[in-house]
């Protein structure tokens, strides 16, 4: 029993110290830590190092000339624009869904939660192909759209659309467990005290979920910026128009432009690092 309790303890509370364990357990503890550090260096540290070494292989001047190539600059801008469009929409979507499934009981509630998570389990390439089959010229709605001269596929809105789909669960997924755990007492109290629906939302619900909301948004943002598969199918990869940063990296790489590819990759890697830092801060805010 004692052993079991010791094993469980670190999982429950991060303050649990190995000093309280038996010597054998202490050894296991350090072994685990060492292997975790070793694997992190091997799988994360080394690749990161490679990205930046290759990016700066030709010197800082070459690096900046690669980054500021018009096609790469536009790719960076398009990727940022996609995030600017997609993340707020998905935050709104996430709040609505989480609100709906945690504050109301209705038939099909569990099914809805499962549906919301579908984009997680579907490979992005499937998402891309599905959109193509829906909106492409030879797709289901293609002839109708063509007759009104509306083009969706191979335009910037197509990139927004698939990115929305792929990243739609991120915010909802963060909010649902939190709002479930918090329960609706605070909101009920507010309503009883005479607050309107909007007041309740802005003064009670939103402050309660803000860190989880931002956390979801940060994850969503990282995913939007890095998305390759789905975007690759629907973008048409027109340089300077519909080429996002991940697509541009592939293009540069295929072109034997290793420095350019790694320079562009380094911007994505930087975004990832910023995301990690934000994630860390938000996690601390959430638990405190």
């Amino acid at each position: 029993m004692q052993n079991a309790a010791d094993l469980v303890a670190p999982a429950i509370s991060s303050q649990a110290s190995p000093r309280h364990g038996k010597p054998a357990l202490r050894r296991v503890h350090w072994l685990l830590i060492a292997s975790a550090i070793f694997l992190s260096i091997l799988f994360i540290g080394v690749p990161m190092l490679v990205i930046f070494t290759y990016a700066f292989r030709g010197g800082v001047a070459v690096y900046f000339s690669q980054i500021t190539q018009p096609a790469t600059l536009h790719a960076i801008w398009l990727t940022v624009l996609t995030a600017i469009v997609v993340v707020p929409i998905n935050m709104l979507f996430g709040i609505c869904v989480a609100w709906l499934v945690t504050r109301f009981r209705f038939p099909g509630r569990r099914l809805l939660i499962t549906f919301v998570e579908i984009p997680f389990s579907v490979s992005p390439i499937v998402a891309g192909v599905t959109y193509l089959f829906l909106y492409g010229s030879q797709g289901l709605l293609g002839p109708l759209l063509d007759s009104y001269d509306i083009k969706i596929m191979f335009t910037v809105p197509a990139i927004f659309l698939v990115s929305l789909f792929v990243t739609s669960p991120f915010v909802a997924r963060e909010l649902i467990p939190l709002m479930q755990a918090q329960g609706s007492e605070d909101e009920e109290a507010a309503i009883t005290l005479g607050a309107t629906g909007l007041q309740t939302f802005f003064y009670v619900t939103l402050p309660n979920i803000r860190w989880a909301l931002l956390y979801g948004a940060v994850l969503c943002n990282a995913r939007v910026m890095g998305e390759f598969g789905a975007v690759s199918v629907v973008s048409g990869a027109i340089r300077g128009q519909t080429n996002t940063l991940p697509l541009q990296i592939e293009l540069l790489f295929n072109d034997y432009n290793v420095t350019g590819a790694f320079a562009a990759s380094s911007t994505l890697a930087l975004i990832a690092v910023v995301t990690l830092v934000l994630k860390y801060i938000l996690e601390r805010k959430q638990t405190s």
Partner: protein, 334 residues
Amino acid sequence: MNRLFVYAAVALGLSMTPVKAADEPTEILNVSYDISRELYEQIDKAFTAAYKQEAGKDITVNQSHAGSSKQARSILEGLEADVVTFNQVTDVQVLHDKGDFIPADWQSRLPNNSSPYYSLPAFLVRAGNPKNIKNWDDLVRDDVKVIFPNPKTSGNARYTYLAAYAYALETYKDEAKAQEFVKRLFANVPVFDTGGRAATTTFAERGIGDVLITFEAEVLGTRKQLGEDKYEAVVPPVSLLAEFPVTVVDKVVDKRGSRAIAESYLKFLYSPEGQDILAQNFNRVNDETVKAKYAAQFPETRLITVQDAFGGWSKVTKDHFSEGAILDKVFTKR
């Protein structure tokens, strides 16, 4: 928070603004294969300058690059390509077969089967050619390791396969022996990568294999990129003609009214200036003056055509590349 929404709305609005087809478009889209980016960057620059001088108009050529089968598919689904510049005849043909985007006789509309430049499968060997690889039959020797991508996934490798097959057919004059020959060739390949880029990495960076087979243009380009002292190019005395077909996409240019610009763009590829840029990038061309200028770069070789050796692309596709056809037989039983 609110500001974010405003930005988002504005951004969405801006990007949704329909691009109205003006009477005289000033932009055309060239949809091309995946590794032609730098080549067409040079072509487009020269063409826009030449066009301005000739017609006094500023125009832009936009580029899209990806695997040419995927590009063809995208065009069928609505990607508005004014011209295509591909590396596979079959991928252009699809535009006629599946959607009637171009007429059946597209290949006879421009000189040399609508192929302004061409190349051939050739060899890249390590400095000094230590294994003395000169011709296709050297590749099936027991002491030679060969690198080329998987012919099931790479168009580039299909050319290698067909070239070896055509060579064997000529030498042994027997289908069974030709199949035996390519089987032995496949047996000498230690790793099959999915694409040409990965195969180059395997050969150059991982140092696996004695010879890399790919288009001559890539052999020469890779050698220049990776060090001319470290590798040598070997052009076999006989190889297979690899065409790079181009065409105006009639359905798109007629809708957009861009036929004139699109056609002069393709004509530019055949002009001395265009041919010079193509040859600079290690592609073989037909213009006599340019040919003479770059003669040292391109050794003499005899080229077999797919038409002569196999009876055309649709027959090759059926006999060799369809499910359960010759490639499947020799590739799985290696």
